[in-house]
Symmetry: C2
Subunit: 325 residues, 2 copies
């Protein structure tokens, strides 16, 4: 069963079809500028099919100097349901360009990303946010042709999420806002960027900046945070994400508070549990599919040498109003 069924090579196909390996290569790759008789072509194709021939990825990569592999690095924990949608869409969109996406989810003791890049022979390395310059350099030295994203405009997308949250609360008449930050920041820059967006919206509306508190994912901890906001006169809270918003809701319950009257709460990311919360959670949803497609185009453009490619990810998010605000 673990029978390493000997893999068929281009030579096997050539022999089976009674031609040379070169001819096989020409046929299978549709190499332009070669006129192969229809009969030969058919024989080759048939033999390849019958032998379940698949070109050897390593050999191809070795000769062409670049593989068809795109490596997506996801640093750690925040693998939410939504990221799956994003990856799926990205996979499909990249497949159209003949690229194969695989994801590396580095654990704690895990090897460095450049190492992974080298052993997988990845041509492109993708991240959720830009890599540090030193990492970019190391990745190139490890064989990466392109490393993206480059400059997401200082987290423009993330800031936009924050702005959407705050503007909604402000438009509802809230003047004193709270911001629920993740407790143990495993979210990199993201948390700061979303918060920044909230602050920007406050400034624009001439409202004081939010009372920002790290909010743990347990009822008691969240209850203490809620209490503090109550003392400060906060009436509306933006949470870094839906999970934290759920914690805030749970903390409120401890004090007999209900949203939105006791405290208006808005989350971000639109996870499935948000719709099922009590009350249903207002949140900011992102069109992951759209982002995935845009990202794929960016990769393709970069690989083709476009020097200043689009990098447009706006128009991908919208406010989803539910009962919690």
């Amino acid at each position: 069963m673990t029978r390493p069924t000997k893999r068929s090579t281009s030579k096997d196909v050539a022999d089976a079809a009674g031609v040379s390996r070169a001819t096989v290569s020409f046929v299978l790759n549709n190499t332009p500028g070669q006129s192969i008789p229809e009969e030969t072509r058919r024989r080759v194709l048939e033999a390849a099919e019958r032998l379940a021939y698949r070109p050897h990825g390593s050999a191809r990569a070795l000769i062409s100097g670049r593989s068809d592999i795109v490596l997506l690095s996801i640093p750690t924990l925040p693998v939410q349901e939504n990221i799956g949608r994003f990856i799926e869409e990205l996979t499909d969109a990249l497949a159209v360009h003949g690229l194969t996406l695989v994801t590396y989810l580095g654990g704690a003791k895990s090897r460095s990303l450049p190492d992974v890049c080298a052993t997988t022979s990845a041509t492109v390395v993708l991240g959720l946010e830009p890599f540090a310059p030193a990492t970019v350099k190391a990745l190139h030295e490890a064989g990466a042709v392109a490393v993206l994203p480059r400059h997401t405009g200082d987290g423009a997308v993330m800031r936009l999420i924050g702005r959407l949250q705050a503007r909604h609360l402000i438009s509802r008449g809230h003047r004193r806002l709270g911001y629920a930050l993740p407790a143990h920041s495993a979210f990199g820059e993201t948390a700061g960027q979303r918060l920044q967006g909230v602050i920007e919206a406050c400034v624009a509306a001439d409202v004081p900046p939010p009372s920002t508190v790290e909010t743990p994912l347990d009822v008691d901890g969240a209850a203490r945070v809620v209490e503090r906001w109550a003392q400060e006169g906060v009436t509306g809270v933006c949470a870094f994400n839906d999970e934290i918003a759920l914690a805030v809701l749970a903390g409120m319950r401890e004090h007999g508070l209900a949203a939105p009257s006791g405290l208006a709460v808005i989350g971000a990311d639109d996870i499935p549990a948000a719709r099922l919360a009590t009350p249903p959670l207002t949140t900011v949803g992102v069109d992951l599919a759209g982002v995935g497609r845009a990202f794929a185009d960016l990769v393709a453009a970069t690989l083709e040498g476009a020097e200043r490619p689009p990098e447009v990810f706006s128009d991908t998010m919208r406010l989803i109003e539910r009962a919690s605000t």
Copy 2:
């Protein structure tokens, strides 16, 4: 910036250290049976370090006939937070054996798994549940040396989850159970297996089998399901997973029912939102880290040729009792 900084080769290192490529290879791989003078060894190591040399994965794979790559295939949607923990642990555990784990999240239009296996030159292909025999064959033909898991004992782990759920409810005195199945079964065999475990526990306790209903992830739909159970005299419900359990809770609220008095509810997977639900959700947690390590050992054993490797994943789950039951 997309400067494809020319990658250094083993020849570069050899030149820099003033030795031959073979010597470089011996030193870097600690090839046994070679006595290299400390001085030479040092020079080679230093040169490799300075040039940021990393062996070319494709070249290695080509010559050795097998890469160090393990490909984990996750069919679709159910990428919950927890799977991230599992993957991370698996990554670390495999790294100890010198293996690199990457994940393939196939989208809709995406290429076939054997294709991905061939282009990535993966040596091992992993799935969350056993692959169909035809797929296994195709994967071997695509170059996979091992394809796992083989036979999870007909979903023994999944059945165990179901048994744990039902036994808990039964021990609480419930005699008429409900089972909340996912509405659009994107969960493959898993759903049926967990349900099977519930049925087994019912049989063992001489309780009628559960009233099984597909439960949508929205409040109204779930409310209808709850109503039906109420009519049937169901007093305790096992949900396929926590998300669905959350939906059941939401549906109950529509009828003014609270858990556990109105209906006892138990989920599975212990997602973060479970703890934050109203009331906090009793669930079955799986020690993902443990499963990850066990899986890694299985891979290593198989690669080393052990014909009937362990495949033990029991002792990895436990009941987490909270207020909903």
